[in-house]
């Protein structure tokens, strides 16, 4: 094993001063584009492992049967935000059928990472990210394919995510659903029962209120399968709580105190304060903030306290 690289590779020695000739993409563009793509991949490596979603949230997502319902689902909103913040562009759900989702990315920034390539689909980073998000963060096995690409002359990039039914059923069906499929009425009210039967019919497990062939085969297959549902908070919980607090309070000052309390109450985020005086000061500050109507007023009180 050699740790010392040799001198420059021959292509660098020979081409010094030569004009770039890369059908539309210059050397600097290509170098910069690789760096941009590397940054996106670093974001994915950093953010995705923190984005594991509990089954009960994925279940709600799978039981949305219209585009509007999916768009207002918390998991879907989180997904879109995560991808946007990772540098994968502003993704939108544009088409839906049970277990099939088509996402579009207008002005896809990933396409800009391939200045030298044209007339082909290039968005491997988005395809891989979608596959990773669905299989690792949601535990939904799937196939992901880029069907249209701006680089291929299409107006937007489009990606088709097709879930593996077994995998979707495993997560979607809870104990009550399994009771229905086994012909036993679960302990739920009539409206919920109707909703559940509707969902099982949409997913082809029931047909006219009876177990379908698919349902029968699945129950045969899943009968011996041991699945352990892990229960934990969804990654967007804290953010939603903070948003709820912000909308509840009329001023920043009063909201700030409750937000600070919520953040401190989160066990995973709890970090010891740097000094003991701060430890004593925080609860006092939170109390003040709750009582205060505006941020300016809170600042004035804090200043007054400091002076005293």
């Amino acid at each position: 094993m050699s740790d010392t690289p040799p001198g420059l590779p021959p292509f660098m020695q020979d081409s010094a001063g030569g004009p770039p000739d890369l059908s539309g993409g210059s050397f600097a563009q290509s170098m910069g584009a690789f760096g941009t793509l590397l940054k996106v991949q670093q974001n994915i490596s950093e953010r995705f492992p923190k984005s594991k979603v509990p089954w009960n949230e994925t279940r709600k997502f799978l039981k949305c049967f219209t585009i509007d319902a999916i768009r207002s689902n918390s998991l879907h909103k989180f997904h879109m935000k995560l991808f946007n913040e990772s540098g994968l562009g502003s993704m939108q759900l544009i088409s839906y059928a049970p277990m099939n989702y088509i996402f579009a990315v207008p002005n896809n920034p990933i396409c800009n990472c391939y200045p030298a390539l044209n007339n082909q689909k290039v968005c491997v980073a988005t395809t891989d990210a979608l596959h990773r998000f669905f299989t690792e963060e949601l535990e939904l096995e799937c196939a992901v394919e880029e069907t249209e690409c701006i680089k291929n002359g299409d107006p937007v990039c489009k990606f088709r995510v097709a879930l593996q039914p077994i995998s979707a059923y495993q997560i979607m069906l809870d104990e009550q659903d399994k009771m229905i499929l086994s012909g036993v009425r679960p302990p739920v009210d009539q409206n919920e029962l109707i909703e559940r039967v509707k969902a099982l019919t949409v997913y082809k497990l029931l047909d006219n209120g009876k177990l379908s062939e698919i349902g029968n085969a699945y129950m045969q297959f899943a009968g011996n399968m041991k699945v352990q549902e892990k229960i934990f908070d969804p990654p967007w919980k804290k953010e939603e709580e903070i948003a709820a607090v912000a909308s509840k309070h009329s001023t920043f000052g009063s909201a700030f105190g409750e937000m600070a309390q919520k953040i401190q109450d989160t066990p995973a985020e709890k970090a010891p304060p740097a000094t003991s005086p701060a430890k004593k000061e925080n609860p006092k500050l939170q109390e003040e903030a709750k009582k205060t109507d505006s941020f300016a007023e809170l600042m004035a009180k804090m200043k007054k306290n400091q002076e005293a």
Binding site: D3, P10, D14, V40, A143, I166
Partner: protein, 195 residues
Amino acid sequence: MVQEQGIAKVDLTYIFKAVMMGNSLYSDNWEKGVLYLTNLNLWFSEGGGWVTIPLKNITMVGREVTDSIRMKAQKAIGTTHVLIIDYQQPSNVVQGASASAVALLAGNEAVVSTLKAYLQPMCGTPPKKQSLSDIDKKLLYMLYTGVNDMQKLAFFTGADTQTLADSFKNLRDQNLCDNSGTLTEQGKKQVQELM
């Protein structure tokens, strides 16, 4: 003639010509060095010089990395992030002929993912992603539970007929099931282990 231009320079660990049989890796001669990606070649620093893989000779980028390969890489170089590059090289045995070869690239997750995302479109691999080995396992388990209707198997696994046929062939070649889809003793043992 297209002039060669650099696109990226990265520090990586690699095996330029790995010995692989199926999905098993028999090489452990990982080399730590520098890799240049250009519009024409991959340049690997090797010893005191350079070796290249022309991009036009690459036949596949990013085929599935098995757990055993990941474990071997983890043990040898401390990372599980590996990219497999299949390519053609001139045969040592028959003049004018070419032979298949495999290069393994390993390193930081973001760097390996970026190289894959860059190389796949450059080398013409379509951007599609599906877990094949997972289909093998599911198919094996469904055959074990008695579901052997082709339409139902295709529906449940979400795989097209060809993928399913390949997976079935794979199970049969490994002596896990017979032609009718009945599991062999070895197949049943494998399912018990999976459970």
